[in-house]
């Protein structure tokens, strides 16, 4: 080890593998995805994988994917709910892998809602 910079570089790289273990402090955005039988049948797993991939491509580290059971609107599965700290949850329905990617690019990174895919719009805007 020759310098602090060299150490910090290793740290950056290594952090990517362990960052999801730091979800406890409550600072990150939670992305819930319905993985009940209905969700899986509707393709939730493919959506989930696409979202994971996009997070990696975009190098996003403060979004934590949490699976939940059926969200109670089986007809609109796969469903994705976004919980940002201090904000009202936003729910998307019929989230195909492609829409999943758009959620990361548009919603998470640019703060833009995907109006066409909203399941329920809460009164608060992000």
């Amino acid at each position: 080890m020759k310098s602090l910079e060299e150490l910090k570089k290793i740290r950056e790289r290594a952090l990517k593998n362990v960052d999801i273990r730091r979800s406890e402090d409550g600072s990150g955005i939670k992305l819930l995805i319905g993985m009940g039988t209905c969700g899986i049948a509707a393709g939730a797993r493919e959506t989930l994988n696409a979202i994971m991939e996009e997070l990696q491509v975009q190098d996003v580290h403060d979004v934590f994917i949490v699976q939940t059971g059926c969200m109670g609107h089986c007809h609109a599965e796969p469903m994705v709910q976004i919980d940002a700290p201090g904000e009202a949850p936003i729910i998307y329905g019929h989230v195909t892998p492609d829409v999943g990617r758009q959620i990361i690019i548009k919603h998470i990174l640019e703060g833009e809602l995907l109006e066409d895919h909203l399941f329920t719009k809460t009164h608060h805007r992000i």
Binding site: M1, K2, S3, L4, L7, K8, I10, R11, R13, A14, L15, K16, N17, V18, D19, I20, R21, S23, E24, I33, G34, M35, G36, T37, I40, L48, N49, M52, L55, Q56, F64, I65, V66, Q67, T68, G69
Partner: protein, 597 residues
């Protein structure tokens, strides 16, 4: 590399491994593979979560779900339910003993709520066999900062300001010890990490070494830089094979990454570490005895002064610090002395790890800020006393400490307050006792230990502790006299005053403190030949109460020596000359008619 969406952290500490945590890991991996999820879910073997009694433990990230008492056969449903469908396996959740509710998240469990983890910060969070995971959580950043931005004097100054005191038992200010060692000019100096951990109830040092070995290596290098030493030794008991294994891996990885060895961070500073194995004698944890043992001599203490800071290993200035002390150092360097100084009490800064054991609902390793009350530890973190019994006393400090009675539970624990009530912080053993524990027996247990562990170098300790033990033995056999109680005090004080090392200087504490707080119980033993908690077998007298006995014959049927006589539906009687005091009749009687006065 693909990013894993779920991390399953499985405890790989000594406690959980002995309960099949390795098999659980294998079962999970093969189950994930079978279902085609091995690329989405990472299975990580970590260090101890502290909740050992409920192990093996699995923590799931990022949902923070905490499973307890997992068995290899549970792997299937964890994968089928939690991994695939996102459904929590309720049966594996922890249930709060006080209000009988299942808890999902670690942070919501009463066991963890009042804890503050500094020394144990990475235990359960990282894979201890992977240096990059340690680096990811700011590992070796403190060493880098020290070597590139600070002078040795500044490091010592920072440590002094932080107020950190040694966690090995003595509570000596760490910065001051470094300063004393740094002041002694010499080409050769040494850092020693004391991992002897001889207190029979303590296992925090083992858990740190198993769960976060790099934090100790990093801190030793920082200490080496501060005092001017290029060589460190870790003195560890050979009975800790897993800790030794993890340390060896960690040292090798650190060397490979250039974090141990020559010219670290291009600063010109060299530092390397070697392990030395101890045979596990309690006295070898005393620093001068430890140094003798590292040199290959007998593990016997020397008189102090001279202190190791002047004349230590191979007669060179040596700084001996405890494992937990070291584990606190990197965060202090990174976050500053002010941050650390805000935690704890006036003269005891930071946190302390305790091995909570005995009659509490939740036993395990707990790390709390200094100044927390015993009551909080026992009733909040510990979840109260088992089976709703009454708390009688708390033993802290192991064989060097004392028993604290129930009416003193409100005191904030730190080095000084514990001392003021006749106990000690010691290395952090904490044993909770209830009404079924006999205080005379407890002190006898500790004296048995010290008598066995005394190195025999000085008379007061070698002979004195033997006599103390004999007197206690006499009392528990019903042969003690009221004069014996005075003898215990006189002899105990004498041993404390005249012994050479800390072992003898503290060994009478368990007796003296129980004599002070539980005098009546001793009196009952010597005057009335009665053991109120019914532990001392020789003092038990089983009798059948005339009023309560209905003559159901249940007792007579279970008595192994047939010493209970009586006709059915008539009062039964025990023949005390034949009775072997086994207690079977006491358990068998459903009318509370058998009494042991």
């Amino acid at each position: 590399m693909k990013k894993y969406r779920l991390h399953l952290m499985i405890c790989g500490g000594t406690g959980c491994q002995s309960q099949d945590s390795n098999e659980i890991i294998q079962a999970l991996r093969s189950e994930l593979q079978k279902k085609g999820y091995e690329d989405e879910v990472q299975v990580v073997k970590t260090g101890c979560f502290g909740f050992c009694e409920k192990g093996p433990i699995i923590k799931v990230h990022p949902d923070n779900v905490f499973y307890i008492e997992v068995k290899p056969q549970d792997a299937e449903r964890i994968v089928a339910e939690h991994v695939i469908k996102g459904r929590i396996v309720k049966e594996l959740l922890y249930e709060e003993p006080t209000y009988h509710e299942k808890v999902e998240h670690q942070g919501d469990m009463s066991f963890y709520k009042k804890q503050l983890r500094i020394a144990l910060r990475n235990c359960g969070l990282i894979n201890p066999e992977n240096i990059e995971e340690y680096i990811a959580v700011d590992g070796y950043l403190a060493l880098g900062k020290v070597l590139t931005e600070m002078k040795p004097k500044e490091v010592i100054e920072l440590m002094k300001e932080s107020g950190l005191r040694g966690r090995g038992g003595g509570g000596f200010p760490t910065g001051r010890k470094w300063e004393l060692t740094a002041q002694n000019e010499s080409k050769l100096k040494f850092i020693i990490c004391n991992a002897d951990e001889g207190d029979p109830g303590a296992f925090m040092d083992r858990s740190i070494l198993e769960g976060d070995p790099h934090s100790v290596l990093e801190a030793m290098a920082i200490a080496g830089y501060a005092i001017g030493a290029e060589k460190g030794y870790i003195y560890i008991r050979a009975e800790y094979p897993l800790a030794i294994h993890r340390l060896n891996i960690a040292i090798e990885q650190a060397r490979k990454y250039g974090l141990l060895g020559k010219n670290l961070f291009d600063s010109g500073f060299n530092f390397d570490i070697e392990l030395k194995y101890g045979a596990g004698a309690f006295v070898c944890g005393e620093e001068t005895a430890l140094i003798n043992s590292v040199e290959g001599g007998r593990g016997e203490p020397n008189a102090k002064p001279p202190f190791p800071a002047e004349i230590g290993l191979w007669n060179e200035p040596t700084c001996v610090n405890n494992v937990e002390t070291f584990a606190n150092i990197p965060p202090i360097i990174l976050k500053g002395s002010e941050w650390f100084g805000k935690i704890g009490t006036e003269n005891s800064k930071g946190t302390k790890v305790f091995a909570l054991a005995g009659k509490v609902n939740n036993v395990g390793l707990v790390e709390v800020p200094m100044g927390v009350s015993l009551k909080d530890i026992i009733y909040e973190i510990g979840g109260g006393i088992r089976n709703d019994k009454k708390l009688k006393a708390v033993q802290t400090g192991g064989p060097s400490g004392g028993c604290i009675p129930a009416d003193k539970l409100d005191i904030p624990i730190d080095y000084d307050s514990l001392k003021s009530i006749g106990s000690m912080m010691g290395s952090g053993g904490m044993i909770v006792m209830d009404e079924d524990d006999c205080m005379v027996n407890i002190s006898k247990f500790y004296l048995e230990f010290t008598e066995e562990e005394s190195c025999g170098k000085c008379t007061p300790c070698r002979i004195g502790n033997k006599r103390l033990h004999e007197i206690l033995e006499r009392i528990t056999m019903g042969e003690g006299t009221i004069e014996d109680l005075d003898r215990l005090v006189v002899l105990g004080e004498m041993i404390k005053d005249s012994s050479l090392c800390g072992l003898g200087q503290t060994s009478p504490n368990p007796v003296l403190s129980t004599l002070e707080y539980f005098h009546e119980e001793y009196n009952q033993h010597v005057v009335h030949k009665h053991c109120p908690s019914g532990v001392c077998k020789a003092l038990k007298k089983y009798q059948i109460s005339e009023e309560k006995c209905v003559g159901c014959t249940a007792c007579a049927k279970v008595c192994p020596v047939d010493c209970i006589s009586g006709e059915p539906k008539k009062r039964h009687v025990i023949d005390p000359k034949i009775c072997i005091k086994c207690g079977a009749c006491f358990e068998a009687c459903r009318f509370n008619a058998v009494v042991r006065p």
